[in-house]
Subunit: 246 residues, 2 copies
């Protein structure tokens, strides 16, 4: 049995479960699983640390919030050289807003990993964003700033952050895409279907086709959202052509 | 002429001045001086970037503030394992308070490097902290997060951050030190003298002696502050013995 196999063997069933669920979310194997476990402990468990302090995700949430703030600040600083301090501050607030982070945490369905002694319906809306921040804190402790920055780029910036939209310049990628097709006389279609899979919450998938060729896909908890995601992906793939309309 | 010599040669006189002044403050040689220059440009100069945007320290201040927040959060997270989220948030606010950062910027006399078109008396009190934050932003861009963290440890955490004091448990290191001496029947003395040196602001130095041996020194803009600094250094050197009194 190899060293790695022995380590894996020594983990409990719950650890195995967490490890396997985290890997695809993180995009890498957690090094120190112990750190990540804390990110999913709700205060209702009344768990204590070795030194007798309450152990829950709240300390990690504090850390993750701070690291997230720094990474997003540095992203915006480089991405928008023309933005002054007021602009950068406003854009960051939008990106790390409770609403935005809750959406993200919900899409990752992080709540299924939470350990608690109360019914999950009692958590309140912000649990999604809070757990996501705690996860960012755990990644920072486990792998350092650089790696955590990569994780934030992968999980927030790439799929969710879109400067023109945050600036209020684009309200719907779907309508932008449709305008483009009409202008260019191209056929398009949104093919929506149920795709709940293993999720407990209902999900939808959509295939967006252009001239009968699927060019982008989207998956989310509502049809509208899934269509927007697919349209946004198409927008980024065809950015030059589409933006000519504007 | 070596490559490095050529680079140094190609710098203007103002660049040379900035480079030489920054080196001792930073504790390392700036790699990209161009970045640091921006940290000292006041908006009154109305300088513009290559792409025609206003160029002053405010964007770097935004970035530095965020990086500082993350570094202090991570420091507190590790330093105080018993602190809950509320405690950590409160402690961080104290450390990065305007008052604290202004004191720091004033001690480093960063204002002497600022380029502006208005009298320095018109800057307002917060210029010190703002410039310090801009400098943190510049270090982050020039050398990356790890190095910037080191700079923050060296310039804030080591000389200024002291958990018991921030918690309000210790209000004066001088009185703590004196109590210790009285209890242990040791002779002590604070030897204060003018030490303005090259600074434009008046400075004082103090030598703190224990049983006629100098054990710590302090330097600041007031006698009281210099005595506190020396007492604090003595406190950290003799921490175990002194804390027995409490």
């Amino acid at each position: 049995m190899s060293f790695i196999q022995k380590i894996i063997k020594s983990r409990s069933k719950r650890d195995d479960y967490l490890f396997n669920e985290l890997k695809p979310i993180l995009g890498f194997s957690p090094k120190n699983l112990y750190i990540y476990k804390k990110a999913f402990v709700h205060r209702s468990t009344k768990e204590l640390t070795d030194i007798g302090n309450p152990q829950n995700y709240e300390r990690l949430e504090f850390l993750g919030d701070a690291v997230l703030g720094a990474v997003i600040a540095s992203y915006l600083f480089k991405k928008v050289p023309s933005g002054n301090e007021g602009y950068l501050t406003q854009m960051r607030s939008k990106i790390v807003s409770r609403e935005h982070l809750n959406e993200l945490g919900r899409d990752l369905d992080l709540i299924r990993l939470v350990k608690s002694n109360v019914s999950k319906s009692k958590f309140g809306e912000n649990i999604y964003g809070n757990i996501f921040e705690a996860l960012v804190g755990a990644v920072y402790l486990d792998k350092g700033y650089k790696h955590c920055k990569k994780f934030i780029y992968k999980s927030i910036i790439k799929p969710y952050v879109d400067i023109p939209r945050l600036e209020g310049k684009i309200t719907s990628y779907k309508s932008l895409f449709i305008e483009y097709c009409q202008r260019e006389k191209k056929e398009f279609g949104y093919d929506v279907f149920d795709d709940t899979g293993k999720d407990t919450i209902k999900h939808f998938s959509v295939k967006l086709s252009l001239d009968n060729k699927v060019i982008a896909k989207g998956r989310a908890t509502s049809k509208k959202k899934a269509e927007e995601i697919a349209s946004k992906r198409a927008y980024f793939a065809f950015q030059e052509q589409i933006s000519k309309i504007n």
